[in-house]
């Protein structure tokens, strides 16, 4: 049924573009820039399910990405698991852990919830920095030999890229499928007015816990891929609160609550950052530029880019969600 919707084909086209563009002429530089875009899109689409749909501000969503990275990297380096198994195991473990955290902190609402997510991220980071099996604060360094089963580093980086694009595609499909489902309708109702939703029969505690756990799964796998690619993982990189906040910025930029918005925002933001970093004029002021941009959106266009597009072409709403 989902296959018959035009928007599904838009997602398919985005994924295809990501897959094909760098393959033309073996354009590795484009690929490396798209890797980060794919990671941002994955993170933003997933946080959008809890932020945009259910209305819960998760400042610490990066904890899923980091823990997923740790689980997978550790399984590969210390227990010689193959990549695929390590990734899936990481995703499942982190989702399960998210369910446990979620049952605790999802009793909180609004700012209290937002603050608690910072606490979870910082607490987990401090714990991992002391956790011996994961190398404590030194983290885990991966041997280049681990790239051999994938055909050496050069080929491995392509494999990782395609897997990441796949995860990105799955994130978009998941985000879309959730939005079109009864579950998604319940989440949107929670996001608008949680008490009214509960009175109408929306099982709010269960739905919130499920979406929190669900939004952890794909970012955890993306984390596994990302840190496998980086060949090392350390607490400050894995649990980077700055990246976490950027994810929210990206979702806002595109338009929270829409499916396409976070992806659009993530792509533009990443390309902008990449450009600012390599531009001699702005490289020292890129934080300032990002801040001014964000402030302008929050104050003058809270609906994000999608909000602007909808206002310009209202008919867009019917097929671009």
């Amino acid at each position: 049924m989902i296959l018959r919707r035009p928007f599904f084909w838009i997602i398919a086209a985005i994924v295809a573009a990501f897959a094909i563009a760098p393959a033309i002429g073996d354009n590795i530089e484009l690929r490396e820039s798209l890797v980060l875009a794919a990671v941002y899109i994955t993170l933003a689409s997933n946080i959008n399910m809890i932020l945009g749909y259910a209305g819960y501000v998760n400042f610490g969503s990066i904890v899923f990405f980091g823990l997923g990275g740790y689980f997978s990297v550790w399984l590969m380096s210390a227990h010689a698991w193959p990549l695929a198994a390590a990734l899936v195991a990481g995703g499942v473990a982190v989702s399960a852990l998210a369910l446990v955290f979620g049952l605790g902190i999802l009793r909180l609402r609004g700012v209290y919830f937002a603050l608690s997510t910072i606490g979870v991220n910082e607490g987990v980071m401090a714990f991992v920095a002391n956790f011996g099996p994961w190398g404590g604060s030194t983290g885990i360094y991966l041997s280049p030999a681990l790239f051999q089963p994938l055909g050496g580093p050069a080929k491995a980086l392509w494999v990782i890229y395609y897997l990441l694009v796949g995860i990105m595609g799955l994130s978009l499909v998941l985000s879309y499928a959730v939005k079109r489902s009864k579950f998604g309708l319940g989440l949107l109702a929670i996001g608008q007015n949680e008490d009214a939703a509960a009175l109408l029969g929306v099982p709010t505690p269960r739905y919130k816990a499920i979406v929190y756990s669900l939004s952890a799964f794909l970012p955890a796998i993306a984390g596994g891929l990302y840190f496998f690619k980086s060949a090392y993982i350390q607490p400050p990189d894995a649990f980077d609160l700055q990246l976490s906040t950027e994810t929210i910025v990206v979702a806002m930029l595109g338009g929270q609550g829409t499916v396409a918005g976070p992806a659009l925002g993530a792509f533009l933001y990443e390309e902008l950052r990449g450009w600012l970093l390599t531009s001699p004029t702005f490289s020292h002021f890129q934080l300032v530029v990002a801040g001014v941009l964000l402030l302008a959106i929050v104050l003058f266009a809270p609906g994000g880019l999608m909000g602007l597009l909808y206002r310009l072409w209202p008919r867009l709403r019917s097929f671009l969600e």
């Binding site: 489902s181 009864k182 309708l185 319940g186 949107l188 109702a189 608008q192 007015n193 008490d195 009214a196 939703a197 509960a198 009175l199 109408l200 029969g201 929306v202 099982p203 709010t204 505690p205």
Partner: protein
């Protein structure tokens, strides 16, 4: 006629304040029960206790024979007990139809999305909002929002509907219309428990009336009986001392 909802010895205390004290009553199938009382009598608190917004300190609530005391609000809704809010709480950024689909999806029948849409359409038509189907809830007038609130609860196809002051804030024309809607709902087989301040309206709508004062039941009976009860008159005159005197006498 069977008792649909049975409330027994219900009590709730907030800090030192006894909001509801040892309250018992029942709603029979196919009837309208009016719940009246002066401001602060604890009427909305009773609704909140029935709905599971608060858990009672004491007492029991049985609905169609099942014990629903202290269940979470969404579980109560699943049993077929729907409710409107005194202060309207629409999902502002959803359309009228989507608002009602939420009701239909998660209510008693727990419908899948496609069928919920049909149920929602029916409910919207029943309250007469069919021409605003795709309008955002935030764009409706107060009267429109009140009707939306009602439609959303109806879409769940409940067995019992709790109405919390659906007439407040409406002009006479709108009130007439709403009273008509409420009658239609009752005639379709849905029982109703309603809180209302407009005496005339509730006297004419209700089959029976329960009067609440300071959280306790002051009187119960047919509308005509209650209207003639001197204690009720005293309570409404706003002189609690008068009531106490009557009690003593």
């Amino acid at each position: 006629m069977n008792a649909l909802l049975e409330v027994e010895n219900l009590s709730k205390q907030f800090g030192g304040l006894r909001a509801v004290q040892a309250l018992s009553f029942e709603v029979r199938e196919g009837t309208i029960l009016g719940l009246i009382g002066p401001n602060g009598a604890g009427k909305t608190t009773v609704f909140n206790l029935l709905n599971g917004v608060f858990a009672p300190d004491e007492g029991q609530v049985r609905f169609r024979g099942a014990d629903i005391t202290g269940l979470a609000p969404f579980r109560v809704a699943r049993h077929g007990l729907a409710r409107t809010n005194q202060i309207v709480q629409p999902f502002a950024n959803m359309t009228v139809l989507e608002n009602c689909v939420v009701g239909a999806c998660f209510g008693r029948e727990n419908l899948p999305l496609a069928r919920a849409r049909e149920a929602a359409r029916e409910a919207v038509t029943l309250v007469g909002l069919e021409d605003r189907l795709d309008a955002l809830a935030s764009q409706l007038t107060i009267a429109g929002k009140k009707r939306l609130e009602l439609a959303r609860a109806l879409a769940a196809r409940p067995t019992l509907l709790l109405l919390d002051e659906v007439l407040a804030g409406l002009n006479p024309v709108e009130i007439e219309r709403m009273i008509g809607i409420i009658r239609t709902i009752r005639d379709s087989g849905i029982s109703i428990l309603m809180i209302e301040h407009l005496m005339q309206a509730i006297m004419s709508l209700s089959d029976r009336i329960v009067v609440l004062n300071s959280g306790a039941k002051l009187a119960e009976g047919l509308p005509a009986e209650v209207a003639a009860d001197p204690m009720v008159i005293g309570a409404y005159l706003g002189d609690p001392g008068f009531v106490d005197k009557l009690r003593e006498s």
